[in-house]
């Protein structure tokens, strides 16, 4: 089985096979040659990266031990606030905005000398499933640059899949970590709501948003999750991690583990995805786990519930963009109201406007009960259905996306069709559960297929353990490096 980039680079640094400065320069050169094709990075930060690398080399020269993520070149999605470094959510409306504070996750990683190579591409305000709503144009899939990297954390997935970052942090509101990880053949973990601080994550839909890692292996995801999870007084929904670090139980035996497969998750998935998924179930059986088929009928309402509630929250969250305190401001206006309206109309892209309008509609007098309130109550039913499911199984296994990465340009033509591709990922966000997407095969054209393990709240250890066991058993068959990036 392939070793994760974090583990591999960490031991290279410890064994002095390469200095952190050399390693950082290797990644910076790889970005320079690959980013024209991948469009993963929208901003590269070489000076700060090399400064950090120097500090790591000095530490190594003093014979000090490195922390697990120390000196490892990485990236952040452009909605994670970085003090003094432009953070735009890939929207014209945040043009030139430089946060005056760091997001908690980045502050934590910075303390342990994580080498930030730059900020990565995303759908504008994380609203999209292909990265193509970005004002910088979409990121490409490292396995076929004619296809999308997925979204909304498409830039991170393209960078990690194309090895121009060893790992990255994305955010997942309706699948935005897991879906691009699946499309790019890598690992993406959406943690339990509240286990990773959202402080400094620019909000899309606050009751769904969660930051998580995108990595090359399950073990790497576990290392990053252990580093970024925890209680934060700056996030009023913070709960912290429960229990021991997940790396401790990662390699445990899974004999007797009950893995639930809900029929509804397999409705409408492509034949190739289904056949690869069924094979993965066989692998689990061979590892001694029991596959338990069950039904989850309330999933039928998951997509409309998600779009109603997420857009309602977005319409409120995005009310702050007024051109007064930061970001873009229109050139000519008669009064404050016109300035705000023109700024917003010129600054937001079409998909963001659509979602603000939908959110305002479902919250407006006359429609609130029929849409927002009803969707909120159905959210409760979905939460309960998952709770009941976890009475009979330890984890749930499902495809991550019903299909593989689509060709560029196909997603934006029909918004509803695009929304439907999120069918397997949104339920996890609705119920605040953890989910990890891992590679499990390829389609006939060599594009990666992913599947996700879903756990009860705060059961990251269980899903990562089950994911690691599959990855270990499936071996090299499910992982194929792309032609891009650093080759060591």
């Amino acid at each position: 089985m392939a070793e994760g980039m974090i583990k591999r680079l960490g031991s290279m640094l410890e064994n002095k096979e390469i200095s952190c400065t050399e390693l950082t320069n290797t990644y910076l050169s790889a970005i320079e040659s690959a980013n024209g094709d991948l469009n993963a990075y929208i901003k590269v930060t070489p000076e700060a990266a090399l400064d950090t690398a120097k500090a790591v080399d000095e530490k190594l020269a003093r014979g000090e031990q490195l922390a697990p993520l120390e000196g490892i070149p990485m990236t952040l999605k452009d909605n994670i606030s970085t003090k003094g470094i432009e953070t735009t959510c890939c929207s014209k409306i945040l043009e030139g905005y430089k946060p005056i504070y760091d997001a908690t996750v980045w502050a934590e990683l910075k303390k342990s000398n994580a080498v930030l190579l730059g900020k990565t591409n995303m759908d504008e305000f994380a609203m999209g499933s292909s990265c193509e709503t970005s004002c910088f144009g979409g990121a490409s899939n490292p396995h076929d640059i004619g296809r999308v990297a997925g979204g909304s954390s498409g830039g991170v997935a393209s960078a990690v899949g194309g090895n121009i970052a060893a790992y990255g942090l994305g955010s997942d509101t309706g699948g935005s970590i897991r879906q691009p990880a699946s499309f790019c053949g890598i690992v993406g973990l959406k943690p339990t709501y509240g286990s990773v601080s959202r402080y400094g994550l620019i909000a899309y839909a606050s009751s769904f948003d969660q930051i998580g890692p995108i990595t090359t292996t399950v073990e790497d995801a576990s290392i990053v999750y252990d580093a970024i999870s925890g209680y934060d007084a700056m996030d009023s929904t913070s709960q912290g991690r429960r229990g021991e670090p997940t790396v401790k139980t990662l390699k445990n035996d899974i004999k007797g583990m009950k893995i639930g497969v809900a029929d509804e998750y397999l409705d409408g998935v492509s034949d190739e995805v289904r056949s690869v998924f069924e094979k993965a179930c066989e692998v689990y059986r061979s590892l001694g786990a029991e596959i338990v088929r069950f039904k989850l009928p309330s999933l039928r309402y998951a997509l409309p519930v998600y779009y109603i509630l997420a857009c309602a929250e977005a319409s409120s969250n995005l009310g702050r963009y007024d051109g007064i305190r930061y970001g873009y401001r229109t050139a000519n206006y008669k009064d404050v109201n016109e300035m705000v309206c023109k700024t917003r109309s010129e600054g937001f892209g079409a998909e963001v406007k659509r979602r603000i309008l939908l959110g305002t509609y479902v919250l407006s007098a006359g429609y609130y009960d029929a849409y927002y309130k009803k969707a909120q109550n159905l959210r409760g039913s979905i939460v309960k259905a998952f709770k009941d499911a976890f009475e009979t199984c330890d984890v749930i296994l499902a495809p991550t996306v019903p299909m593989t990465a689509f060709k560029k340009g196909n997603a934006i033509s029909d918004p509803i069709e695009t929304y439907l591709t999120d069918i397997c990922t949104v339920p996890v966000n609705i119920a605040g559960l953890p989910g990890v997407s891992i590679p499990c095969g390829f389609d006939g054209e060599g594009m990666p297929i992913g599947m996700q393990l879903i756990g009860d709240t705060f059961c990251e250890s269980t899903i990562l353990n089950a994911a690691w066991q599959y990855e270990n058993a499936a071996g090299a068959e499910v992982f194929k490096p792309s032609a891009y990036g650093v080759k060591l």
Binding site: I100, T237, P304, Y307, C341, K374, G380, V383
Partner: protein, 93 residues
């Protein structure tokens, strides 16, 4: 059914201008999305309870103590226009 007037009204509430030539397209898009959202209205309300929040979250309060905050100049750095420590919106025609 979403009408042009609905879209104009919602856009006004959202502080967005929709250009006249974009209005038909936006009305159709909104109509399609609302039709899709309407699928929740076939769900039975039997046994469905009022929902508060996921995971029984409790607000994570912190001690109410005064701690150093940001300097005014730093906060104003990202503004387009400022004057004597204030955000400014000038009249510009």
């Amino acid at each position: 059914m979403v009408t042009r007037e609905d879209v104009i009204n919602i856009a006004r509430l959202s502080k967005l201008y929709i250009a006249e030539e974009e209005l038909d397209e936006m009305t159709k898009a909104m109509g399609d999305i609302i039709k899709f959202a309407d699928t929740i209205n076939v769900a039975s309300e039997q046994g469905v309870e009022e929902f508060d929040n996921i995971n029984n979250l409790k607000n994570a309060f912190r001690e109410d103590v005064v701690v150093p905050s940001y300097e005014r100049d730093e906060i104003l750095k990202n503004a387009n226009d400022i004057d004597e420590g204030h955000f400014l919106v000038r009249k510009r025609v």
